[in-house]
Amino acid sequence: MALGTILIFAEAEGDGPSTLTLELVTKARSLADTVDAFVAGDGASLADALGAHGVSTVYSTGALDDRLVGVHAAAALEALVTANGPGAVFFGQTPNGRDTAARLSVRLDQPVVTNNVGAELEGDTLVVEEPVFGGTKNVFTAFRSGGPALALFRPKSFEAEPSGGGPAAVQAVDVPDVGRAGAARVTGRFEEERSGPQLGEAGVVVSGGRGLGQPEAYEMVEELADLLGAASGASRAIVDAGWVPYAKQVGQTGKVVKPDIYIACGISGATQHLVGMKGSKTIVAINKDSEAPIFGVADLGIVGDVHKVMPALIEALKAR
């Protein structure tokens, strides 16, 4: 059995579709006869790459300019879903994905299931898989509403693979007036400076946490990352404390990383963090508390003071 159509809430990253979008498209191919995409923005610029991954039609709202995505995208999606009746709408677990799914849920009066890492069909019912309790258990949920299944997926849940398809057809869709609900306006956009390997793609990631003691100590994390050609990351605790920008956050609310090697420095390993890095091939942890949960997932754990182990490690690497 297969669902007739799955509609993907597609998002752009740079000039093309985001990796997460292509992951969802690839998965949807195995579940549905037809995969379409909806773009809150310029869909035409994504049509080639989406088509190459198996998307038939890209529905495009055109530029939303200073309007927020969620409330407007949901209004346009409601009309599209009502007209086309897809079996499911897939969203990435991103700020705009969450906003749009939430608003669409209210408009269609359909449930949303979030935080998924898997999807399969049981008969013609969609069943999604969500890790709970820091990834120690997986909950499988079947949609029983009879309407389109609205599901959000975490990054890196699936592999993105081209299907060899040609460019997708592009069809413009209207954005209905949402009245005062659409009153918020974007007045400025700011990008954090990025340098070095990107957290989501790096083969090696070095992350720091509260155990560093003070913001200045994060420089050790960056120095170690530089020496290893790694990306630098952080636990939520030190992002919340304002030591490093949110873009560096690894975890449930931050980035999901699956590097070959993950080095956790002064990170205790709260569930929130483990969810974002447990998929790493090899995990090294340095922490002074031998009871810290991070040692439960570490391949190599050093029970010790980061202020001693890290400088020694940095010196040893420099000496090579």
């Binding site: 359909q110 890790p131 997986n138 949920t141 005062r180 609900a181 306006r185 700011f190 029970v303 182990v309």
Partner: protein, 259 residues
């Protein structure tokens, strides 16, 4: 200025979570506490009302067994009053049903601003605030890392994948706040004593006017078909640093051909 803060009362995150084998719902038998994620919204509301020269900070919460422990913590921080919705029929309610219940409670206050945490620390669904805005047909700004209110307009720095956007909106509006937007205060002894006398209005499902078919396990229209144990990572090698811990890391990095 009238601000309503959505507050979730959750099992103590320090204790291991457990699913009820009969229902596959999170066990919430023990005392519930204020979700830390919501303490930021409470603090933000207190600061905004103070900056506005006065007003009211009210709380809304949905919890089993008329649980008020978490609400009392937020009242002790300085919130003025609260509405608690509690009803056996609400067990198993999903995010959309929860949003309908909370929206009904919020509507009673006719607030200028509604604040909520981006996501709870137990279920972390992360959709309830935006759903509430949808039910109330209200404008919203999610993922706020900084908030100001002046002349009836809320100005927010909204976290994005790449950095942040400046977003503004005329009130009334809903804003969801990230952890770290402000440093929550600890309740003072005086605050704790005062909180005991602050009004908490308790509503059952019927009083909210929300259709009984929209809540509870049946209203969620989704079924947990099974729960499995995740594959555990093999336990690794844990060593005490005797001044040579870094050497073991170098060895491993060499072995893995990183250096």
């Amino acid at each position: 200025m009238k601000v309503v803060v959505c507050v979730k009362q959750i099992p103590d995150p320090a204790l291991p979570g457990e699913l009820d084998p009969a229902t596959n719902l999170l066990k919430r038998d023990d005392k519930l506490i204020l979700d830390e994620s919501d303490s930021y919204g409470v603090e933000m509301a207190l600061q905004l009302v103070e900056a506005a020269g006065g007003g009211q900070v009210s709380l809304v919460s949905m919890a089993p067994r008329n649980e008020t422990s978490g609400l009392r913590t937020a009242l002790a921080m300085g919130a003025d009053d609260a509405i608690l919705v509690s009803d056996d029929a609400l067990a198993g309610t999903d995010a959309l049903g929860t949003a309908k219940i909370l929206a009904s409670a919020i509507g009673r206050y006719e607030p200028d601003l509604v604040l909520a945490g981006v996501e709870s620390s137990d279920g972390y669904t992360g959709t309830v605030p935006e759903m509430i805005a949808g039910v109330l047909d209200m404008p919203s700004i999610t993922f706020a890392k900084q908030i100001e209110v002046a002349d009836g307009v809320v100005k927010v720095q909204r976290q994005t994948e790449a950095g942040y956007d400046d977003v503004e909106c005329a009130l009334p509006a809903l804003v969801s706040v990230t952890a770290g937007v402000v440093e929550p205060r600890y309740p003072s002894f005086k605050g704790i004593m005062a909180a005991k006398k602050k009004p908490v209005e308790e509503l059952d499902l019927a009083a909210t006017g929300v259709d009984a078919g929209a809540v509870g396990g049946a209203g969620a229209r989704q079924e947990t078909v099974r729960v499995t144990d995740a594959e555990e990572r093999q336990a690794g090698e844990i060593i005490e640093d005797e001044g040579d811990g870094h050497e073991r890391i170098v060895e491993l990095l060499t072995q893995l051909k990183v250096i």
